[in-house]
């Protein structure tokens, strides 16, 4: 009965590879997000997706792309992985007009 789930929990890969992280929420929310947490614990918003509108943080490289097959899922695709992409990636969701964002458990990505 996990509210926001992510897979995989850990991801170790080589530079230059393409990878995806999946996110699913069963809260009936209509807005989903991706955040990146670096080694210093700093949390940065990457994307916000609400039904038909995608809001992108302008600092995010275009190697990162969110894809939403349906309202309950927002997957993160990363092309040509770089060492600096190593981080913990969190998915979150909320109602569009809601105040509380519910976070998933995170995916720990290590690029070698």
């Amino acid at each position: 009965d996990t509210a926001v789930s992510q897979t995989p929990k850990y991801l170790v890969t080589q530079m230059g590879n393409d990878k995806s992280i999946k996110c699913e929420q069963n809260l009936g929310h209509d807005t989903m997000y991706w955040y990146k947490q670096d080694s210093k614990k700093f949390l940065k918003i990457m994307f916000s997706y609400n039904n038909k509108e995608l809001i992108i943080n302008e600092t995010v490289p275009n190697r990162f792309s969110p894809k939403s097959p349906d309202k309950a899922h927002l997957n993160l695709h990363i092309n040509s992985l770089e060492l600096g992409d190593s981080a913990v990636y969190f998915c979150a969701s909320s109602q569009f007009s809601g105040e509380t964002q519910y976070f998933g458990p995170g995916t720990r990505l290590l690029v070698l």
């Binding site: 926001v4 807005t31 997000y33 210093k40 614990k41 700093f42 949390l43 940065k44 918003i45 916000s48 809001i55 943080n57 969190f90 979150a92 909320s94 109602q95 569009f96 007009s97 809601g98 105040e99 509380t100 964002q101 519910y102 976070f103 998933g104 458990p105 995170g106």
Partner: protein
Amino acid sequence: QQQVKQSPQSLIVQKGGISIINCAYENTAFDYFPWYQQFPGKGPALLIAIRPDVSEKKEGRFTISFNKSAKQFSLHIMDSQPGDSATYFCAANINAGNMLTFGGGTRLMVKP
């Protein structure tokens, strides 16, 4: 450009003491200020939040103090317990439901 600045980066408090974490923001359009709590290996979870139309909000041992003119807000944890040991993030956004801007985080350790 960090729009929300948080201090201190780390804090050690004795059990039963008061923990105080401060945040300052720059964007006067921010109108929602949540605090998130993150335990190791977990995603952040909403702890308490405030809107700028009130100067204080209390929930149990947790209190937010808000100073609109100074563009500052703080989290006070009364009677701190070892179970409160976690990383705390202040955040802000414009219109609930939009992308959150997080502070840098404070790692709190409560010693028994």
